[in-house]
Subunit: 261 residues, 4 copies
Amino acid sequence: MSNQKIVEGDYVLLYLSQRKTYLVKVEAGKSFHTHKGFIKFDNLIGKDYGCSIVSSLGFEFFVLKPLLHDYIIKSVRKTQITYPKDIALIVMFSGIGPGSRIVEAGTGTGALATALAHYIKPKGKVYSYEIREEFQKTAEKNLIRAGLIDFVELKAKDITAGIDEADVDAVILDLATPWLVIPHAYTALKPCGTLVSFSPTIDQVVKTVEALKENSFLDIETVECLIRGMQVERGKTRPQTLMTAHTGYITTARKMTRNAI
Amino acid sequence: MSNQKIVEGDYVLLYLSQRKTYLVKVEAGKSFHTHKGFIKFDNLIGKDYGCSIVSSLGFEFFVLKPLLHDYIIKSVRKTQITYPKDIALIVMFSGIGPGSRIVEAGTGTGALATALAHYIKPKGKVYSYEIREEFQKTAEKNLIRAGLIDFVELKAKDITAGIDEADVDAVILDLATPWLVIPHAYTALKPCGTLVSFSPTIDQVVKTVEALKENSFLDIETVECLIRGMQVERGKTRPQTLMTAHTGYITTARKMTRNAI
Amino acid sequence: MSNQKIVEGDYVLLYLSQRKTYLVKVEAGKSFHTHKGFIKFDNLIGKDYGCSIVSSLGFEFFVLKPLLHDYIIKSVRKTQITYPKDIALIVMFSGIGPGSRIVEAGTGTGALATALAHYIKPKGKVYSYEIREEFQKTAEKNLIRAGLIDFVELKAKDITAGIDEADVDAVILDLATPWLVIPHAYTALKPCGTLVSFSPTIDQVVKTVEALKENSFLDIETVECLIRGMQVERGKTRPQTLMTAHTGYITTARKMTRNAI
Amino acid sequence: MSNQKIVEGDYVLLYLSQRKTYLVKVEAGKSFHTHKGFIKFDNLIGKDYGCSIVSSLGFEFFVLKPLLHDYIIKSVRKTQITYPKDIALIVMFSGIGPGSRIVEAGTGTGALATALAHYIKPKGKVYSYEIREEFQKTAEKNLIRAGLIDFVELKAKDITAGIDEADVDAVILDLATPWLVIPHAYTALKPCGTLVSFSPTIDQVVKTVEALKENSFLDIETVECLIRGMQVERGKTRPQTLMTAHTGYITTARKMTRNAI
């Protein structure tokens, strides 16, 4: 069972408000500085998660134990478009769970790899391909922070040139040219294995679906997911004013032994 | 690793089209009858998943290995409103994973318990409360079929009267009066544990959020999720004509040691 | 001012429920038959709009004066995809109003022409092109029923071959190949006139936008509109379960004297 | 027919980009200054609408003839939530057109009154109620600018205290407490007249629908409208990243002579 007292070395989520949260490492003798004052980590060590602490300027910060989606959000950079909602659907539609072996590309900042590792641990494995070296270092850092690096093999390889693994449960793609990976994914997947591809543009989706049809995949579906927040307050409840209108389309399919007649 | 050859006793998903699929148990010497002819199970045993078979009337059925969301969809009855998309988000926002201990209510037909068990196995546990006996039998059947019964304890108890477990990672509610469970959930949760509630009406959401605020929960958020399918075909791509407009609102929160100042 | 007493020859909307309404012509001495009994028109003549009448089988029907959107909905056939919501946006974005001169194609069943005529009467004019003769008769019937035929000129011509009119305020397109009409629309429009095109597929939108850019149109925008109904009842309020996910994309633009530098 | 040459006193829309437009009055001998340089109005007078002009700093501005929705958008202040999409639906569902007599409240900055006046001119009339004096002046200015002041009577009265007019075609409400106006609206409407109410919160909608049911209104419906923009470019087409998630709910109903049995 996960620990419930804050110990040195833990990552904690300092919560000032829904929009102001900080993912920081607890280090004895050190402090964390914000525009609302600083917090001494020594005052946190030994306390229960869920407690609050007052900063040097008198502001109350709650101390949360980071969840998977906190690690995802905090590992996302602006160029990144795979949000928790999309990751949640990718995980569900791929059918993976504890013990699954998964090929993933591109690694990017590691947000998707983090989530996959979380769900397949401790016996499964994520093989994550990435050709841009600078991303791999960021991903590694994010995976270490989330305590999930042991379940991911970061590979500095171009997945459009081929996949090393065989008999995997799922291939999950979030890269610019997913259609170039489909034949390799077919070879790497176990019978009836699943493919999930995430793409922002219609054109990518069309090319990917065509490649899936040509390569004996079945049950091909493309969806998009819209999340709308609610402002909940008795007598004033209403949807929020702004929302994300688009992140990307999720295409799913399953490998058959051959095409339909 | 999961088997890749079809063996007697397996549940398989017979796929005629995206709208016509059948979840059936492979039994030697028996057949499965549809309006498109029958299929002899003996012709399936020993074959690879992902193969196809032709029915007595000449129609091709593909043989898929059921994934989690197939079990969910097939366990859903018309009165049930927790869809795979909502379950995916509930799983993500709850932060659970392999090893988590979860309290859930009400069991219903077991769709949500099936998903939770899938993600927390083999060392975690789902404690699922239900007061309507007729549902429990259906849920048990569905959990057995999905091979996940060992990870769920079905409890014939009224969760609004109290929760037996302590120090659980998450409490997940899909019942008519979630606000009555909030004080019990607070007691049952470990520090910083998560609560997720799924409700179809605004009024339920307002009452639940009020109860959460009164009971020292923080980071309270309510969202709804819309999924829209795409018809993908070069030169004719467009969103589908109809979609589900509403299933329910998902409210999430985390247990703090006390209310904000 | 429009009449408020029901007179012979009026079209009335008989309302049994939100899903069961009938647009019928009041004819002295005749009856209207439904599965809920018949109604004698003589019992309606002379009464106020908004009254109710009881059928021979004891069911209450309310008698409504048809509004524009009633005529639109009742003129729509299954193959038709321009709904009131889209027509409302087309009217708004085109900038038309009383006195406007508009070219429209294709006429179809006349739903869009009906709306345009309603808003530009009594001094404006709608020139509506259609090459399929069978549609023109339906459209004429629908326009007569709505009392708007005098403001529409139905033209049995192929608009992709050219537009006869000049100096029109707007060109509004709802046909399979809008991009073929763009050069003709440019010629027909007055300076700074507006073009609005309605298309169900992405591919049509891309081709239309490209043609607009090549033909000195500016302020080009494409949107889609989603309408979601609410079930409103104290303590049980929630969005409806199903909704239309897609009708089409609306593209708007304005004619410039030349392309941007 | 509207003029096509730019003349002194015209309002023109100077268009630098989709996000940078200016609604200005053409005044001989004067200039318009922007951060991209200034434009001399004398260089515009006599030119065709749809032309472009280069500023003192070398930037090209297109000169558009403002349409109804330009006037609406430019009259909107931040606190205002009635957008062109909602106004378009309100106009459609109310059934109004040239010649209609309409009661409207509250006037606010006059955006909705501007649209109603545009569609009911030249023989119809909008009676617009507002109790906040400072808004009335803004509304008057906006209506004068749009050339529609003659078709609107601005009334400094509290509509919850009563409506002076009788036999109107429609009552259109965009104020905080629409339910208080429903009995007065019933009295003011002609038989089968329409009521449309626009409200941001669920609670307002519930109270309004209850008042409508108690006051012999029928065909009561509540909808919300979502508009999503598309980024259209061959090979890169996709929905826009952000959208407005909520403006308000639109509730419509028609006056009957009495309640259903």
